[in-house]
Chain length 160, copies 2
């Protein structure tokens, strides 16, 4: 199960600290996805969708931790009950706005990703598949939500 | 970028043909996810969520194709404008209902996956992150939707 990038994402965020947590906290923040040549054909018909899923490799995240204190809480939680990037398979998922496509470049908005993030996949956002009403959202329903943006807690140590 | 399973999904679907297309067409269909021991600690706090994302490896899908005729249409579309499994990184994404957790076993509903699908990740479904109103949903808005379930078009050839 070997993954490889289909392109790269460029944004204004160069470190975790200060990067918005999720697209809903990055409203209007621009970014681009540059798609590698063998995959450009697969972008046909995508421009009709308002939003798209980006699946990406969390290239700056630390080793997996089964218990984490998520940004939105102050107490430890099971990793899989959070969206923290320190996962066994560090695959991130963000629903961003698709502004326009020019050749191999997707112009995006609401981008919560670090610059140079390897892109693994793009899927269209389809409300029938992705938009479910829910009654219970676990600890998130009552989270104190103390952080306006990310910090370095899940960042790979820098070797400089 | 090496992925490895954190567990395996079991369902009643043993081949693509007849498998529901997306959880919205699999309402009430049961399945289980058996989580490998090193990752069970990470399930803490997950039981409070009504729905969860499964990220999985499409282990039976054919080689990637940049142009496909998706199940819901009758004409070719760019791969990334579809949810077809024949992708460069064959990572699937399904929002299923979490019925209950017993030890290392997640009891699920609305399961649209093949039996023995390798599980890569679990994320909580959080409407604030995942539930966006959209005006335009590309070709899907006017798709003829001719297929009640999947067929073999994206299935790996069987060597028997």
């Amino acid at each position: 199960m070997q993954c490889h990038p289909i392109g790269v994402i460029h944004t204004q965020h160069h470190q975790a600290t200060g990067t918005p947590i999720q697209p809903c906290r990055a409203v209007g923040v621009p970014g681009t996805a540059i798609i590698d040549e063998p995959y450009v054909e697969g972008l046909a018909d995508l421009d009709g969708f308002d939003r798209i899923w980006l699946l990406f490799w969390c290239h700056q995240s630390s080793e997996p931790k089964m218990t984490v204190i998520p940004y939105r809480d102050t107490v430890p939680r099971g990793l899989f009950a959070t969206r923290a990037p320190a996962r066994p398979n560090p695959i991130g998922l963000s629903c961003v706005r698709l502004d326009r496509i020019q050749g191999n470049t997707l112009h995006l908005l609401d981008v919560d990703l670090l610059d140079n993030t390897p892109l693994l996949d793009i899927k269209p956002y389809v409300p029938q598949y992705d938009n479910y009403p829910v009654q219970h959202c676990g600890w998130v329903d009552h989270a104190p939500d103390p952080n306006p943006a990310a910090d370095a807690r899940f960042e790979k140590p820098h070797l400089d």
